[in-house]
């Protein structure tokens, strides 16, 4: 170990001992094309599956003829709904107390729904055989427009549920309605705005897939799958398929991006298991891109009516919102079970106000199921978008600068910990400092001056601001569970005799760099070089239980677990050092990597010395076991509340409506940063999401329920050309309850950036009197907004 001039310690390999910029351990394999993603894996005798999907949105299935497909020489099995009914597997439970068809039996309820699976010797033959299956549909009128789902004459989608005669899933509310109504009644100014957060899709570069292998002799099921939550999957497979949980092993190999798309269990996964049982061979199923976009977890689709109340001089008093939430054909949203609208009720955002209330009505439509996915921190995306748009709408009404309006209403540092009007306890924050920093980096006043000059010349330039607060790290067992499973995370640390260590995690990286950052956490606590710490994850038979990686929970929950388990090792090392030096543990003091005797620093034992002693023959005090291992289950006392201030600058072509994002400034506060390089990378990716969502990404539907946006030709993701060079800054406000003060960062930028881009475009359109237009702000939509006719983006353009 050497000490640099800056005072940080570096390891023999040149890595920081503890926090700091460190190159990623996982890169070595990815850079050489040696990653092992799901579709890279093959098993002896493996068969390939393909899924036949419904071409229509709503229809009764009259007949399915599979004979020709079964006669295909390379086909091993064809599975249809009737096959599953005999196994009692035609329907599976969702994460939201509903059921979803594994294969359609009675009706198809969205375009792209699973109707049959073919299992064949190779993937080309499996797809050839799909064309040999003949399905007769009796087409029914679909429910496409969420706003009409509750009309009395709307077709009933879920007639599989006895007694159901409408499309309402739930009504859910938060906040104090009466108090909010009072505040609105006395307010000088009330502004209202309809705001759509359209349906979008996480679209990781790797689609979803699985390999299922059922060993008939041992009864053991091994599932390799692209999933962000292997342990949760194991329990759900056990509950759904009735296979004893100890006989199920779930392995998540390298994952080519998740962003929430790989949380749930899809029908294809269950079908591959069934296929393996039927054929006795491992069965691989990997989605095509269209299958990914049309059938797996979409996100958002919130139709919001927002209202904001304020005094004439710009003090925000209250926010009220009514939401129609489009959940698709099955209620399959993935969030802590007590919260059917996720964490949407954090919609009061970062502001000090007197009252707030929301009502959310979930509805069925003839669209793919899902809703909570895509780096949304359980719908905080929608909440932040709502409040940040509403603040700009209010600024427009009051004719005040949106930066000034925000500064006036942001929570002040002395208000923390702050209990919000909808019951959240924000742990820590210094909001004005972050906003001021972002404005300073942007050169806000100069930008406004430039804008003024440009407007005089008829050019359209816009400056948009957003400020966000997230609550991430679900979550405390007393408040949160998924299907009854508490959201605490296990973690195990073994220090081997030579001082090298293995850390076992329940969370699952999809590119976040866990193999590096979790080693850094242990290194920080124990002084072991991070290159000497192997991080093991992704295999339920090798790792402790925990609920996986989503909702920015890895650092707040498992990161805390890793710190605590390392601290336990450190405490044990103290006892062993004391025994070896024949002093009292109280006489020892810790410096990074070593216990030493107070007042005599030459007398001490490094953690490596201790590891060997712990495995050796040293006599240990009564009750102290040998070896240097520990495990922990960490139950977070609260969520962590990262926040940030974003500024976006755009230029709009008034003749074509094309938007160009010229600059984007992001100041994020996620507490201390384990590895600033990785944190910044996470932010960059989220900012690109914001540009994509604000300007181009949308899954819409035509009047027949056909999905528009089922390929990358129509579901547009931003390229290097649409993204500016990101400008980042940071403030550091530690979390008071996380053992290392850390907060989650994985989704902050995805949550915080869309309103900044939209606010900038709307600001650019000020000369046209435009107050709002829905995402995505495509050239057509922007130009139509200039004509006073912004488009409805959830419905296909006609």
């Amino acid at each position: 170990m050497t000490t640099t001039e800056a005072g940080t310690h570096t390891s023999p390999a040149g890595n920081p001992i503890g926090f700091g910029r460190m190159l990623r351990k996982e890169d070595a394999r990815f850079l050489r094309g040696q990653g092992h993603y799901l579709d890279d894996l093959t098993m002896p005798g493996m068969l390939h599956a393909a899924i036949l999907r419904s071409p229509v949105a709503h229809a009764r299935i009259m007949s399915i003829d599979t004979r020709a497909a079964e006669e295909h020489p390379k086909v091993k099995a064809v599975i249809i709904g009737a096959t599953l009914e005999s196994l009692n597997l035609a329907w599976m439970p969702t994460l939201s107390a509903d059921v979803q068809a594994v294969l359609a039996t009675d009706k198809v309820r969205f375009q792209g729904q699973e109707v049959a699976m073919v299992i064949a010797e190779d993937k080309y033959s499996a797809r050839d055989a799909l064309e040999l299956i003949d399905v007769e549909y009796d087409v029914l009128p679909p429910v496409v427009d969420a706003m009409k789902a509750l009309d009395p004459d709307a077709p009933v989608i879920r007639d599989d549920v006895e007694g159901r005669n409408d499309n309402k899933i739930f009504d859910w509310e938060a906040g104090d309605k009466e108090r909010t109504d009072e505040v609105f009644a006395k307010a000088d100014v009330v502004v209202e705005q309809d705001i759509l957060y359209p349906r979008t899709h996480p679209a990781p570069m790797e689609t979803c897939g699985t390999i299922a292998s059922m060993d008939k002799v041992t009864g053991r099921l091994t599932v390799w799958s692209t999933n962000q939550a292997p342990h949760a999957h194991r329990t759900i497979y056990a509950l759904v398929a009735g296979i004893p949980e100890h006989n199920i092993q779930i392995i998540s190999p390298d994952i080519g991006g998740g962003f929430g798309n790989k949380v749930g269990i899809y029908p294809g996964y269950v079908l591959a298991v069934v296929g393996s049982i039927i054929t006795g061979k491992p069965v691989k199923w990997v989605e095509d891109r269209s299958e990914n976009l049309m059938s797996t977890s979409f996100a958002r689709d919130y139709h919001m009516k927002g209202e904001i109340a304020a005094t004439r001089d710009g003090k925000i008093l209250g926010v009220r919102v009514n939401v129609i939430a489009d959940h698709g054909a099955f209620n399959g949203t993935a969030q802590p079970s007590k919260f059917p609208a996720g964490f949407f009720h954090i919609f009061t955002g970062s502001y000090d106000l007197e009252a707030a209330h929301c009502n959310v009505t979930g509805v069925y439509t003839n669209k793919a199921p899902g809703g909570v996915a895509y780096a949304c921190s359980f719908r905080i995306t929608e909440a932040v978008y709502l409040v940040e748009r509403m603040v700009d709408v209010l600024a427009d009404e009051l004719e005040v600068d949106p930066a000034e309006l925000r500064m006036k209403n942001l929570l002040r540092p002395e208000q923390f910990p702050y209990t919000s009007m909808t019951g959240w306890e924000y742990d820590s924050g210094d909001y004005p400092r972050a906003l001021q920093k972002a404005l300073d980096i942007a050169g806000y006043q100069q930008l406004r001056e430039e804008q003024k000059e440009k407007r005089e010349r008829g050019e359209l330039m816009g400056i948009g601001i957003s400020f966000f607060t997230e609550g991430v790290g679900a979550g405390p067992r007393k408040h949160m569970d998924i299907l009854g499973l508490g959201m605490a995370d296990g973690c195990e640390l073994r220090v081997h005799p030579t001082g090298k260590a293995q850390l076992r995690l329940s969370v699952q990286t999809q590119g976040q760099g866990h193999e590096t950052t979790f080693a850094q956490i242990v290194s920080h606590e124990l002084g072991i070089p991070p290159e000497d710490i192997d991080v093991i994850h992704g295999d339920t038979s090798n790792t402790p239980f925990g609920l996986g990686t989503y909702g920015s929970r890895s650092t707040p929950v498992s990161g805390a677990a890793a710190a605590v388990v390392a601290q336990r090792i450190r405490d044990k090392a103290r006892i062993i050092t004391a025994a070896a030096l024949e002093v009292s543990p109280d006489d020892l003091e810790w410096e990074q990597g070593r216990w030493y005797v107070k007042g005599d620093p030459s007398q001490g034992k490094t953690i490596q010395d201790v590891a060997m002693l712990a495995h050796g023959t040293l006599e240990l005090p009564e009750g102290v076991e040998g070896h240097l291992d520990a495990s922990v289950v960490y139950d977070p006392p609260n969520l962590t509340y990262p926040f940030g201030a974003y500024v976006c600058v755009v230029d709009v072509d008034r003749g074509t409506g094309q938007v160009s994002v010229r600059r984007f400034i992001a100041v994020d506060d996620c507490g201390p940063r384990i590895n600033p390089m990785i944190v910044e990378g996470q932010i960059h990716g989220g900012l690109a999401d914001g540009v994509g969502m604000a300007l181009m990404q949308v899954i819409s539907f035509d009047e027949d329920g056909n999905c528009v946006g089922g390929s990358f030709m129509d579901y547009l993701l931003p390229t290097s050309m649409e993204c500016p060079s990101w400008e980042t800054g940071e403030t550091v406000t530690p979390s008071p309850h996380h053992p290392l003060g850390l907060k989650g960062i994985g989704e902050s930028a995805t949550v915080g950036s869309p309103p900044a881009v939209v606010n900038a475009v709307i600001d650019a359109l000020e000369p046209f009197g435009v107050r709002h237009a829905d995402m995505p702000l495509t050239p057509a939509n922007v130009w139509m907004a200039m004509q006073g006719k912004p488009m409805r983006t959830d419905l296909a353009v006609t």
């Binding site: 393909a50 036949l52 999907r53 419904s54 071409p55 375009q111 792209g112 993937k123 080309y124 797809r127 050839d128 799909l130 064309e131 095509d288 891109r289 269209s290 299958e291 049309m294 003749g655 074509t656 409506g657 094309q658 300007l695 181009m696 819409s700 528009v708 946006g709 030709m713 129509d714 547009l716 931003p718 390229t719 290097s720 050309m721 649409e722 495509t778 050239p779 057509a780 130009w783 139509m784 004509q787 488009m791 296909a796 353009v797 006609t798």
Partner: protein, 292 residues
């Protein structure tokens, strides 16, 4: 829901133009030439196209050229988009090719996609079709029996339909070199690499301050034969003033019949036909006058 793998198909590789034509004749109308493959293969993957045989013409290097032949700038059908973009002689005569190529797909696609393939696919949003129409290019078509030429403005007979007979292939695109001509192309797309929401290209020849000759091409907006003849006729003999250019834009848009889709409603696309026509005319005039 389409599958994403091609149906079984036979493969032949042509070694010369003559060989390709023989194969086409022998294998009949269920065979397809494949050049870059970036239009045909995606259609084969979703089985919208199911030829019995593909005839690979990538070895026909004899069709991979850009050269001046007499008074024409000539492109062999197998010329890749990337080669057009990199060609100085193209830039010297018709910078609109470079304007357009920079906006076509993306670099790896431009490394494979060919000039001939773009014309023959006859996609209603194809950029080079508008360029060809704007420049009043001539296409050289060969069959085992004969060689004939067809004006670009007569080649496209509807979406994905061309004047090519069975057992006939496009071998060359010829553009008349017009001394003093200046040109420009632009398009609106939702994102880099997207097909055109609308695109326009034009050349102008100015003589004594008036438009002596002009060609206007439009794509993705339902312009008949990818061109705007009425607007061209209007401009000839007039000085290229803002007013005249504006009227040309209006006339160009009036002839269009776009379809609403995710790229925009009809109203917007008609506006773009007008707006982009004006923009390329203005840029072309500026270039003619040496202002840009």
């Amino acid at each position: 829901m389409p599958v994403q793998t091609p149906a079984p198909v036979d493969y032949e590789r042509a070694t010369s133009v003559e060989h390709a034509l023989q194969l086409l004749e022998r294998l009949g109308p269920d065979s397809r030439l494949i050049a870059g493959g970036h239009s045909l293969l995606p259609m084969m993957r979703i089985r919208l196209a199911q030829p019995e045989c593909v005839i690979d013409i990538n070895d026909l290097t004899e069709l991979d050229y850009i050269r001046v032949d007499g008074d024409d700038l000539c492109f062999g059908a197998m010329t890749r988009h990337a080669a057009v973009l990199a060609s100085p002689v193209v830039g010297e005569h018709y910078p609109l090719f470079h304007d357009a190529e920079r906006l076509i797909a993306d670099p790896p696609v431009r490394n494979r996609g060919t000039v001939g393939g773009s014309f023959c696919q006859a996609d209603p949003a194809e950029d080079l079709s508008a360029v060809g129409s704007a420049l009043k290019a001539t296409l050289v078509l060969r069959s085992p029996q004969r060689t004939r030429t067809v004006p670009a403005r007569e080649f496209h007979q509807g979406p994905y339909m061309t004047a090519l007979d069975d057992a006939e292939m496009l071998t060359e695109v010829r553009v008349p070199i017009r001394p003093g001509a200046a040109s420009a192309y632009t398009k609106v797309k939702r994102r880099s690499g997207d097909w055109a929401t609308a695109g326009a290209g034009a050349y102008v020849v100015l003589r004594d301050g008036v438009v002596a000759d002009v060609g206007i091409g439009l794509t993705a907006v339902g312009a008949p034969h990818f061109c705007a003849e009425e607007a061209e006729a209007y401009l000839v003999g007039k000085p290229p003033t803002d007013e005249h250019i504006a009227e040309a834009g209006r006339l160009a848009a009036r002839a269009c019949n776009p379809r609403a889709d995710q790229r925009g409603p009809v109203e917007y696309k008609l506006h773009l036909a007008d707006e982009l026509t004006q923009r390329v005319l203005r840029t072309a005039v500026e270039r003619a006058e040496g202002r840009s």
